[in-house]
């Protein structure tokens, strides 16, 4: 097995284009376990974490650009990123895992329980996919097509995550339910971004997304539609919580049951809404 550690993005894309049966490695927190267990090893590994252009969080007038090889620790600690994304990143694994893992890895691994995915859907993020001779921008809510499946082609990499300034101007939060506080995988996670009409409590726009409750992270648009242009009273939030419950299709698995997931997501929704509207 060969190991490539390019430092320039163009070299990375060329190697990816040339190599057959290769795998991209970022932090490796999932891939290294896979490599230990599998007999189907790739012929080469291409490490993206030495490419400086893929690391860092940049704020510009149009919004924020996050390099895909930025570590989860750095996402969680960044004070220029929206709360929901920071909290989602902070709830992943342990300090040891967050120091290794990257946001690009969390996205491209496309696990339905990835804790940065629902926040990125709620923030209407776009993903820049690049290959040696093309690039395209894919909205987060069109990127995931199934558990561990994305629209990415084998010669493409995710290079940037972009959040437009419109979604930096608003309030957001993320909460998840796991079996303990540290080192845990979400049984249910929920990210909400909203903006109120200036100096009122009327919701101007709201985006609600959930993870671990469907084959991909999902938007819950029916609840969004109910809340839009209204003052969120306790009764209205309760009504919306029911739409959140009916907007997901969880399964029973090793971590939890479908019934439990449907129950707790209503509580998570009410908690986040109350927190956001009281602050």
């Amino acid at each position: 097995m060969r190991y490539f550690q390019p430092e320039m993005l163009k070299d990375l894309l060329l190697i990816l284009d040339h190599e057959d049966n290769c795998m991209i490695i970022a932090g490796g927190t999932d891939l290294v376990i896979y490599l230990q267990d599998t007999v189907k090893k790739p012929d080469s590994l291409i490490d993206v974490t030495n490419v400086k252009d893929l690391i860092g969080i940049k704020k510009e007038k149009s919004g924020i650009t996050i390099g895909s090889a930025t570590t989860i620790s750095n996402i969680a600690a960044s004070n220029i990123l929206p709360e929901c994304l920071r909290n989602g990143a902070g709830s992943i694994g342990s300090p040891q895992i967050r120091n290794l893992a990257t946001i690009g890895g969390n996205i491209c691994n496309a696990s339905p329980c990835g804790d940065t995915l629902a926040p990125l859907l709620s923030l209407k993020a776009d993903f820049l996919l690049q290959s040696v001779n093309s690039e395209r921008l894919v909205p987060a809510d069109q990127f995931f097509i199934g558990p561990k499946k994305t629209v990415m082609q084998s010669n493409e990499i995710l290079s940037e995550i972009r959040i437009s300034s419109k979604y930096l101007d608003g309030i957001s939060d993320f909460k998840m339910i796991g079996q303990r506080n540290g080192q845990v995988i979400s049984q249910v996670n929920l990210a909400i971004w909203l903006k109120t009409v200036e100096s009122t409590n009327i919701i101007k726009e709201i985006r609600i997304s959930a993870g671990s409750v469907a084959p991909t992270p999902v938007r819950i648009t029916k609840a969004e539609e109910l809340l839009c242009n209204k003052v969120p009273t306790t009764e209205l939030i309760l009504e919306a919580a029911k739409l959140v419950q009916s907007g997901i299709c969880p399964i029973d698995d090793v971590r939890s049951t479908a019934v439990y997931r449907k129950d707790v997501i209503a509580g998570l929704f009410q908690d986040i809404m109350t927190h956001l509207l009281n602050n």
Partner: protein, 158 residues
């Protein structure tokens, strides 16, 4: 592939397979068996090492990623004349060690925490050690040991 890195202050040059874990390199090739192999899935923290000062699971870290890095294992904490590090002393004094298997990882996570946050609250200690599992102590004495280590280190620095 040939990699070069600094381990506990010593330059190392070694040829490693592309899919070798840092954990196996450290234990089997460098003979530094203080780094423990627990779950091999990044869940227990027994294999924690410091990479450029940050705690990472060496079971999830491929050896080629050590290229150009500085790592510290538990063996690197000793001072001259094999004098124990103040964190190690505090763990012994507080009885924070029972079977000892988790201890190297606990101590390195503590080192990273105290380097970043010299006087942590209990909540900060719990967060800093949240990636290290101990099946013996119930954590109370470990938290006390971290507080005691913080006092020792802050005293030394005054």
């Amino acid at each position: 592939m040939l990699i070069e890195f600094i381990c506990n202050g010593q330059p190392i040059e070694v040829d490693v397979p592309a899919d070798m874990r840092a954990l196996d390199l450290i234990r089997d090739e460098l003979g530094l068996t203080g780094t423990k192999c627990g779950c091999s899935k990044g869940e227990c923290g027994a294999c924690t090492i410091l990479v450029n000062g940050l705690p990472e699971c060496s079971c999830l870290l491929l050896a080629p990623k050590l290229q150009g890095r500085k790592i510290t294992t538990i063996e690197g904490l000793e001072g001259p004349g094999r004098k124990l590090h103040p964190i190690q002393e505090a763990f012994l004094e507080e009885g924070a060690v029972q079977c000892g298997f988790c201890t190297p990882g606990m101590i390195l996570s503590t080192k990273a925490l105290l380097d970043r946050c010299p006087s942590p609250t209990v909540a900060e200690i719990e967060e800093g050690l949240s990636g290290n599992i101990c099946r013996c102590t119930g954590y109370t004495k470990i938290v006390k040991a971290v507080q005691s280590a913080a006092l020792k280190l802050n005293g030394t620095n005054l």
